[in-house]
């Protein structure tokens, strides 16, 4: 029997919350965590779990510590009446001052995408349906995830009629909700991990990149440059290619983000993801089929249906990849050659693609 780790083994804590000081007037979250854990170790706060994880990886690799807590919390509904103002002001201040909402940048990115790739007529209809299918797929996945915020399926017609009612490119079902949530994971050095479990999951590659706060000022309005850079660097760290990964938890704050991220992560050629989604989802087998490859995306329901408590979201994404790799994902377990996948990745954003974090996880090869 393996020796169980204990709270007192934690040598540092990296806690993430996006705007708890605003929503809950809670400053110095580290002190709060110290009280809860009765620990007096170094603690730092980041804005996303992926950022916390990345920092924790650095600390362990530097040899500073062996066992750390990485967690995230967010309580957005406590400030329900002002949350959209806060979100937009923090995400893109000039756009906020000009009258932008948390939805507008997504819609403008979609308009830019349609224009850039000259998508018209029947293809435009297909693209719009593909975006609806993203949401339908994520809702369906969430019904198999007991932690998901939404536990019901929706239909393409529902998504489309919500857009029609709103007279906008995207509607209610295209966007992730406002959520409360918390997540945590223990990260250890390889040596410690092997003492604690027979099935450790490794952070094989991680990277982040940053882009302008002001979305309209970015060079390319149809893609997230930060994603491309972060993915490239994370892959380089692991020596893998995108198609070595079978499960991907990506940041679908809107259906457009899922579409664009498939391209930015290198799974689809620019301007083509809508086709792959549309073709895969017209006869959905549980995965996107892209150039003959199977890609399992947002198996936990994604941000759309699992929820998006900003500072905690990344933890849910990492958790899903972790469970899939360990073969513990229950009803939604994905299989590759009858076995749980060996590699997966999580893409998390802060802001509207202002920061992108890619974490590539992997387990040891089956013997």
């Amino acid at each position: 029997m393996k020796k169980l780790g204990e709270r007192k083994d934690l040598e540092a804590c990296y806690l993430s919350d996006c705007f708890l000081p605003i929503t809950n007037k809670l400053g110095l979250e580290e002190g709060f965590l110290s009280e809860l854990t009765e620990l007096h170790v170094p603690m730092e706060v980041t804005r996303s779990v992926s950022a916390a994880l990345l920092t924790a990886c650095h600390a362990i690799q530097a040899g500073v510590c062996n066992t750390v807590l990485v967690g995230g919390i967010e309580k957005m509904t406590d400030r329900w009446d002002k949350i959209r103002d806060d979100l937009m002001l923090l995400e893109d201040p000039w756009s906020y001052y000009a009258g932008g909402t948390p939805e507008t940048n997504h819609e403008l990115m979609l308009r830019a995408y349609i224009k850039k790739y000259g998508i018209t007529g029947e293809n435009l209809d297909k693209l719009n349906v593909a975006l609806a299918q993203v949401s339908v797929k994520n809702h369906a996945n969430a019904t198999k995830n007991k932690y998901a915020q939404f536990q019901r399926t929706i239909t393409v017609d529902q998504v489309l009629s919500a857009r029609k009612a709103a007279q906008k490119p995207l509607g209610l079902y295209d966007f992730a909700p406002v959520s409360d949530g918390a997540s945590a994971l223990i990260l250890t050095s390889e040596a410690v991990a092997k003492k604690l479990t027979a099935k450790p999951v490794y952070v094989m590659g991680y990277s982040s990149a940053t882009d302008y706060l002001n979305f309209p000022a970015r060079d390319d309005l149809t893609h997230f440059a930060a994603t491309k850079i972060a993915m490239k660097n994370a892959l380089k760290m692991t020596g893998k290619t995108p198609w070595d990964l079978q499960v991907v938890e990506l940041y679908d704050q809107s259906t457009v983000m899922e579409l664009v991220s498939l391209e930015d992560l290198g799974f689809c050629e620019p301007g083509t993801a809508w086709k792959s989604i549309n073709e895969s989802c017209s006869d959905y087998k549980g995965y996107y089929e892209i150039n003959g490859n199977q890609l399992f995306v947002n198996m936990n329901g994604g941000l759309k249906a699992d929820g998006n408590p900003l500072g905690a979201t990344g933890g849910a994404q990492i958790f899903e990849v972790f469970r899939q790799l360990r073969g513990e994902a229950g009803d939604r377990q994905v299989k590759s050659d009858q076995k749980p996948p060996q590699f997966g990745c999580a893409l998390e954003f802060e802001g509207f693609g202002t920061k992108a974090y890619v974490s590539i996880l992997g387990r040891e090869k089956d013997e």
């Binding site: 959209r84 000039w94 906020y96 001052y97 909402t101 403008l108 906008k168 309209p216 309005l221």
Partner: protein
């Protein structure tokens, strides 16, 4: 808590849309930058400041906002998107203003995308009654609609005149109207107020005059609907229009607000003219603005009788001795303590003295100032080509003009109350602008303002040949705004809502 520094910073950059250009590589940035991201250290000191205030942009992409954030809630639905300047070198967020998007109205985005837009200086969003009113120019209107794009070109003066006079002027009224019977009145859009009208009028006057804004050494703004009891409109106008020599973020200009009901602006014409004529003043040009979102209580409430006549708009006149379009030949002012119309501090709407606003107030003072000036200058009614007076309603100016012996053709051109309503401080100046829009050189204009409280200022102006030369610079003249095909008419409820503002 909008006295936070960020409010000042956003206004400083956003009101004028300040930007920077790297002189080495040409890259442009919205906001002010000390160095270029491309060129790094070597670009320090090589960043040119540019601004987009007089530029036109292109609406690249747009979408509809139907559920705004809290502070934009009063705007209802609006079109929002990305606007580019300088062939896409600069891209900013913006909303289309001056459009009422009703629930159920379909907006065809592709019919808007790609069209030229003009930045407009507006209120940014709603704040509490005790807060600073935030403003911004990230609001745009389509250049091919009510408000065309006009270049601002500084013209080197060619001639110095012996007496000072008007060197340029501008009138601004909004795109919206309420029409009741034969009376049309301008209605502000919900993000407009006396401050935005003052800036618009000043901007249009600068464009018309070709005067270098840094040579304007004095700005007077007359208004009785300043959103603040204490805080001048003139300082906002000076900062946004960059009046006076700019040094850091301070403008070398004397800015002051004046108040005397509807003659708050016209009263200052002589002060402005005197100032530019005083050799030691160092003031080459002085600007006088009258702007009002004319206040009136809703109908049925005390003071609600005014609601039938009030309009919205502003006028700006620049005075100087160079390239004068109308010389000031003389003036006469009179005053008496007559409480015919007033608004107590803290009250939202003015009260008036019913029938005592006529004979003992308006008529007495207008007649007195006009006849005294004519006596002084030894003039008969037939000696002037145009007579302009204050227009609180369509009847009063006609009646007083007839009493003074003026004929229909002398005063008809100036009667604008039927088109815009009573624009209070902007009212008789709008009439003057309408005359200047059509007058020929060497014509005499007699203008007599009236302000409740009460007093009148009468001026005699004589036009010069430059009046005609400068006319072509002004697309947004009075007629253009009065008869514009893009006017939008609103019902009474909408009019009250828009007038109340954000």
């Amino acid at each position: 808590m909008s006295s936070e520094p960020i409010e000042r910073r956003v206004s400083y950059l956003g009101d004028r849309l300040k930007a920077s250009r790297c002189k080495i590589c040409g890259k442009e940035y919205f906001e002010v930058r000390d160095y270029c991201g491309n060129c790094g250290r070597k670009s320090f000191g090589k960043m040119a400041s540019i601004d987009l205030f007089y530029e036109k942009g292109k609406l690249e992409l747009c979408t509809l906002v139907k559920e705004p954030t809290n502070k934009f809630m009063k705007l209802g639905s609006y079109v929002y998107g990305i606007v580019s300047f300088h062939n896409g070198k600069i891209r900013v967020s913006g909303r289309l203003t001056d459009r009422i998007v009703n629930n159920g109205d379909a907006v065809d985005f592709s019919s808007l995308e790609g069209r030229e837009v003009v930045p407009r200086f507006r209120r940014r969003y709603s704040v509490g009654r005790s807060d600073v009113v935030p403003t911004i120019s990230l609001a745009f209107t389509l250049a091919d609609e009510y408000y065309p794009h006009q270049e601002y070109t500084v013209v080197k003066p060619s001639k110095e005149y012996d007496v000072p006079g008007i060197v340029g002027y501008g009138v601004y009224t909004s795109r919206f109207r309420i029409k009741e019977g034969s009376l049309e009145r301008s209605v502000p859009f919900i993000d407009e107020d006396a401050v935005t009208a003052a800036v618009e009028a000043g901007k249009i006057a600068l464009i018309h005059s070709g005067v270098d804004s840094s040579l304007v050494g004095k700005i007077y703004v007359g208004s009785e609907s300043n959103p603040y009891a204490v805080k001048p409109i003139a300082s906002k106008v000076a900062q946004v229009l960059k009046l006076g020599e700019e040094d850091g973020d301070v403008q070398g200009v004397d800015a002051v607000d004046t108040e005397f009901a509807c003659k708050a602006a016209s009263s200052m014409f002589k002060d402005a003219a005197s100032l530019v004529n005083y050799p030691q003043s160092g003031v080459q040009y002085a600007m006088v603005i009258g702007a009002d979102n004319s206040q009136a209580a809703p109908r049925g409430c005390p003071g609600g009788e005014l609601d039938v006549f009030v309009g919205y708009g502003g006028s700006a006149f620049i005075f100087g001795k160079y390239d004068v379009i109308a010389e000031i030949e003389g003036w006469y002012s009179c005053t008496s303590d007559t409480p015919d119309f007033w608004r107590r501090d803290g009250e939202l709407f003015p009260m008036h003295g019913g029938r005592f606003t006529g004979d003992p107030a308006y008529f007495k003072h207008v007649r007195k100032a006009t006849t005294k000036l004519m006596e002084r200058l030894n003039l008969q009614a037939g000696d002037v080509d145009y007579f302009v007076t204050h227009q609180p309603n369509p009847q009063f100016p006609v009646k007083v003009a007839k009493q003074l012996g003026f004929k229909d053709e002398q005063y008809a051109v100036s009667l604008q109350v039927n088109k815009f309503g009573n624009t209070y401080s902007g009212c008789s100046p709008v009439g003057l602008a309408a005359v200047l829009d059509v007058a020929k050189p060497e014509e005499r204009i007699l203008i007599t303002s009236y302000g409740s409280g009460a007093g009148s200022d009468a001026y005699l102006l004589r036009t010069t040949s430059q009046l005609v030369d400068k006319r072509q610079r002004q697309k947004l003249n009075v007629k253009f705004q009065a008869e514009n095909p893009f006017l939008e008419y609103v019902d009474y409820t909408t009019y009250r809502r828009l007038k109340l503002g954000m």
